[in-house]
Symmetry: D2
Subunit: 128 residues, 4 copies
């Protein structure tokens, strides 16, 4: 996330926000934020929201996620909010919303996400 | 895709393959291919597969996609295959599979995807 | 929905609730509400929420939906809430939540859904 | 499944087929097979495919599933094939396809599914 200029701007129990300034390097051919960036940032927000609820020695593995691209990613900056919908000791489910923020109007919802994560301990997570 | 070193290695009616050599810049903390890269490459393969079946003056907009991360992304190179499951004049559905390829063993399935696209004409697609 | 005893208990612009009393005929082998019933009721709630926002002469076709089963479906009755996340003239996206309701405690979230629908007019919808 | 007239017609390691004759009770207002029935049968096929690969004392819990409705469910009978895409000791992923079968032409793909299941032992599965 850091390599694309994203910043963690809010961390609470079960809720995390990531902000990202507009950067032409992150756009596709029409100047809109790339779907891959939107997805990766939503996945990150949902995963960090999950981390806010688990033991420091546990890790989270994303099992699957689904993204709906709702509106073009046009804005001065972007906000990605991840929230844990279902905490758990084995499976955690997060939902995410991505907003395009502009100084001259209200934020616009551009994408939504649902992701399922597994809580892993020790080497499990990187052995698969 | 080009900025991450990916190459379109097969294009047929309804089927497309993208290959990507291993690159440490595309990995997460454990040296595995990043989920965001896997998702973006699968989305691209599914979308290109759709483009192989539509008029040259039409465009495709991804409405939604779902990715299942099945195994760690560890390999010397990666293959992303997108295939159109359901062609259509308005809605196209593609499935994708991502494989980690190693010289010392069989390719391993690391992720699967289903994506839904809308066929758009003219400015529709970038106006949302 | 009527054949399983479900009732539309709230209809607003973009939000719909369906309630369903417990019925042993709708359970699986452990006495929990069957996943197929949960999914069908969530799909119905999301679709009705969409209908509350479109012209009376238009129809909605579900393109795809995803359900996360979060907790066992154990309750005296069940509430399914569908809300439109993204209205549109061509594509509408709804989210849904299913709750198990018990007289001796708070309602429990048992499932969540995201569904994508296409707005169709005339015969389109049934010709596919 | 039995209550809707479905029959298990093929069981192999990792692959299962369910067949269902047309029945007006299972249709929606246009005489097409109801999306809820399609989803439940696909979920069942994917789950049974998973059961063909696990210990007899283990159970499978569906964590989430996604269905794409591709064509109208019009046919004399319906075939639902579930296949395990990724076996595992904790998480199993299945894909499913639903076909409408007619005596006067080729079978038509009407829906696809991806489902994620967790392998559970003992009481885990019904305690949630």
């Amino acid at each position: 996330m850091r390599t694309i200029g994203a910043e963690l701007t809010r961390v609470e129990q079960g809720t995390v926000e990531i902000e990202l300034p507009f950067d032409p390097k992150l756009t596709q051919q029409h100047g809109l934020l790339h779907a891959g960036v939107i997805s990766a940032a939503l996945d990150a927000a949902g995963t960090y929201a999950g981390y806010s609820l688990i033991d420091p020695d546990a890790s989270l593995l994303t099992i699957e996620f689904k993204v709906n691209l709702l509106s073009p990613g046009r804005g001065e900056r972007f906000l990605f909010r991840g929230e844990v919908t279902k905490p758990g000791t084995t499976i955690i489910v997060s939902d995410g919303k991505a907003y395009a923020v502009r100084s001259d109007g209200p934020a616009k919802l551009i994408a939504s996400m649902t992701g399922t994560m597994m809580v892993v301990r020790g080497r499990e997570g990187i052995e698969g």
